[in-house]
Symmetry: C2
Subunit: 558 residues, 2 copies
């Protein structure tokens, strides 16, 4: 068992030149656009040339509802990718990029942990290949052009009270949540109240992650609704004339980024939309490219399976025409205990009964995922203090659900700790096959889609929505948006909208407070609870201790 920190392990990594990692997938050096020696983008002509190849197997890693005990979903994604390579499969992983802003509040994070990490860690937490900066620029160009249009005569008749497109910054800056712009008189335009969101909450981010190619990206950008006229007719990004220039700003950002795991296996790290007001998955471009190049592609989705896996299936898979050949649900003994009612401070003591009680949360996720018609395996991400009796309690419970749980020790052992999981995943993916179908058809009404997710996935008795919300959904259906899937924005800590309600609660309803239309990304957002789209910094932000030490290494970021 290692006692080194994630960053210490990452810094000791024997990284290979990125051209060697690309070569493992058959990508030539000329088709990699390098960013330094350990990061690269895959060139568009190379991707275009892959169209006729068969797809590899797609494995989704999802999890129980997260608890402060940690579940290790990304760590397991990385560990499984390495494990599949270890047993002789050509495997790649696909995960999201990190947001810069939050790293200056709480400490930034590794991509994975222990001996199951993706590197280079510092760069991935800082500017990486500039994708998020490009998204920020594209988003804010549209914002500037809207105000500029109004300034120069407002030929489109935009109602200045109904501009719905805000600005973004990849920074935790609460002062920008709610602002008044264009003060100072005539040369500065017409004052109006607006604000900034964090970049990962931008619809441009969701679009980049759902676009199938550059042409599709530009079309979706054009479809963004930015404002309404006085008689509530929508004004789009295309009306403003910003779509072409935004696509130019994003032409490199849409190309998938290739890095490596500690075991020098290929990892695509691309895109990072919010998992609440957006769908929380890495880019379709990266996933599809990986599927053409590898026999196995391991990916993950944000938050627990109730939010992440559902959106992965109903938004990403539906839109991209892909589906998982197997799903891994990550659980830990510690998280089961917390779901069983144990406080964080008491996790050290063995408590088999609590583990058993908490398994109800896991059980519901297993049922839910199976309902999409895909095979499931549970990965128990091992922690040092787990007892054999506690592990057995989880294993027995899962067996009782007709599935299998596999103990994994990738954090401490790397791929040696996921061999069994890898073998099981291969057996499932190459077995009788999945019979994937999304939860609801395109044709279902928008309100009914929300209700379906709430009752069938969350197990609520129903939804509660104001007349205003219902009328809005009907108006969108009338305007031709009824075929869109629904993107739920809800707390990740519970099946309910109460973050403290762990386990497998029953007897509750889901209040739908507000709905938003992301016409470019292609979904309707149903907001069920408080959603923060611009975080603030804490009283002692991590930024105060982040610095370069004398060796030139970054300190305080992790």
């Amino acid at each position: 068992m290692s006692h080194k920190s994630d960053i210490e392990i990452a810094r000791e990594a024997a990284k290979r030149p990125i051209q060697e990692i690309g070569a493992k997938l058959g990508i030539g050096a000329d088709d990699l656009l390098p960013y330094g020696h350990d990061k690269a983008k895959v060139s568009q002509p190379f991707i275009d040339g892959l169209a006729d190849r068969p797809d590899g197997k797609l494995i989704l890693v999802t999890a129980i509802n997260p608890t402060p005990a940690g579940e290790g979903k990304t760590t397991t994604t990385v560990g499984l990718g390495d494990g599949l390579n270890r047993i002789g499969k050509k495997a790649a992983i696909c995960i999201r990029e990190a947001s810069l802003g939050p790293c200056f509040g709480m400490k930034g994070g590794a991509a994975g942990g222990g001996y199951a990490q993706v590197v280079p860690m510092e760069e991935m937490n800082l500017h990486f290949t500039g994708d998020f900066h490009a998204i920020t620029s594209a988003h804010n160009l549209l914002s500037a052009m809207i105000d500029n249009h109004i300034y120069w005569g407002n030929a489109l008749g935009i109602d200045q009270r109904r501009v719905v497109w805000r600005r973004v910054m990849d920074m935790n800056d609460r002062a920008l949540r709610d602002i008044v712009t264009s003060l100072g008189g005539v040369p500065n335009g017409f004052p109006r109240q607006t604000g900034f969101d964090i970049t990962v909450a931008s619809e441009v981010m969701a679009i980049l992650c759902l676009a199938s190619d550059l042409a599709d990206l530009e079309r979706r950008l054009g479809d963004i609704i930015v404002a309404y006229t006085r008689d509530k007719a929508p004004i789009t990004c295309r009306d403003i004339g910003a779509d072409g220039a935004m696509a130019v700003l994003l032409k490199d950002a849409i190309q998938p980024n290739l890095v490596q795991t500690l075991e020098n296996n290929p990892a695509f790290v691309h895109g990072g939309p919010f998992a609440n007001i957006a769908h929380g998955c890495n880019s379709v471009m990266a996933t599809r490219t990986a599927l053409k190049l590898a026999d196995y592609v391991v990916t993950e989705a944000g938050f627990g399976a109730d939010l992440g896996a559902e959106k992965f299936m109903d938004i990403k898979c539906r839109k991209a025409g892909i589906s998982p050949d197997a799903v891994v649900i990550v659980a830990t003994v510690r998280a089961m205990k917390m779901n069983g009612g144990v406080a964080k401070g008491d996790l050290g003591a063995e408590n088999v009964a609590a583990v058993q009680a908490g398994c109800a949360n896991l059980g519901r996720h297993i049922e839910n995922v199976k309902s999409f018609g895909v095979p499931v395996v549970v990965a128990i991400n091992h922690f040092a203090g787990d007892t054999e009796a506690e592990i057995a309690a989880v294993t027995d419970y899962v067996a009782g659900q007709g599935s299998e749980a596999v103990l994994c020790k990738h954090w401490a052992e790397g791929s040696a700790g996921t061999e069994a999981l890898a073998e099981r995943v291969v057996a499932l993916a190459e077995g009788e096959g999945s019979a994937f179908s999304p939860l609801y058809p395109d044709e279902m009404g928008l309100l009914e889609k929300i209700e379906t997710i709430a009752t069938r996935i969350y197990r609520a008795d129903g939804i509660v929505a104001d007349a205003k919300v219902i009328k809005q959904l009907e108006e969108w259906e009338a305007a031709g948006f009824g075929h869109l899937p629904v993107c739920m924005a809800k707390t990740q800590y519970s099946f309910t909208t109460d973050p403290t309600a762990r386990g497998a609660p029953t007897g509750f309803s889901i209040p739908v407070r507000e709905v938003r239309l992301s016409a470019g990304a292609g979904f309707v957002v149903a907001i069920c609870g408080e959603i923060m789209t611009m975080p603030g910094l804490p009283s002692a932000p991590a930024a105060e201790t982040i610095r370069l030490n004398e060796a030139g290494d970054v300190e305080g970021l992790f």
Copy 2:
């Protein structure tokens, strides 16, 4: 004579892999951090290893006061670099990076023109290597931390009316010039009036360009004054605790970028501070690195010689301990005609008398530059319609000033068009040598420094300053800032503060409206006229026609 556009010529360039360009300067492939195949940053350990090498010769390219006719300063910088290589010297050029925001208003620009350009043109006008995005992030992290400090109790006692640190965005967005932040109640902080500048106007940009290394960068960042207490005591970035994290964000951005000219000669393109509220030169890091690697380094400074060359000498050279071995002043027959009173529409007709009259502007710049103790040569940047009599008028005038003017045809012919200029520059630089001294000593009072520049460089009768301005300068002297050089912010179109007063005006004074302290960059800004730090977009912004064509090329950006 080519009839191709700059972008057509740039796209036909036979670019060499950046490793080959690096090899010309003795930079190994491992010491280049590639960004794609045609851009790279030079690694810090490699730069550190150059300290004991002798410096090459430094050539500054400056110009007459710019007119709408165009003078071609960057084009001549590139052409001279290529010309020096053509005559067998190992030469590199050092120029500034382009700002993204303005490209969406008016069309973006080539770095150079015709057959004297730096490539890749699109990338240099878009995200390039991400330096400006890093500067934006670092600047705005400090902004967020200031408001966050106030939010969590304001232990430093910041007077919220006296926060002088704004936010920045690399975008032309007039709506952000003057805003109120932190509306929305308690969770969003204390409302206050502030605004955004464009990124190139950030003091962080000036600091990056003046820092000698990463440690010096961090020290300067710490010195930034961000606010004052109620009793006017300064609060610095170091007090806020942001300097370390900002240096981390800038650790790659400070490393010089290497690209190439159309003739495959090395070009460092790094940094781009405003030439009004900052000093308008590329980075000290790039210039110093180039001097260690090349026998000749050709660089330029923003605007005409009255602003650009003066700041180059009195700010950059003074701070970096370097000095030019020769100065090239770029003039054109067309610009001489406009300085002689001809309107832009009448430039087509031969007008020797107007050329002769306009030469007074050139003459004053020659005198001024010589007063710094450095040898001067005039480059006449040839335009197709120039007549022999007009060219002779300039040549004769310059000879009468005791200098030499050399006709250059690099726009049409590349380095073949600058051979004569290159030979003359070598003769000057390797001749009796320069006896450089800045215009004023560090010890001179701040007001006297402003007066010295106004009377000796602009030839004003004197300066006009309110008691408030004079008192402010005295306070800064008392606080220990009296040794700083002065950075003049004035129109570039005239020696006076009236942009329409061309030629060599006399009988005017320079009004000093406002002074600002850039304690991190290390200069006092004297604002003499209207200075715009956040541009707006025009009524038909270039962004509306910028798009990717079917071949994947960017259209409308140029």
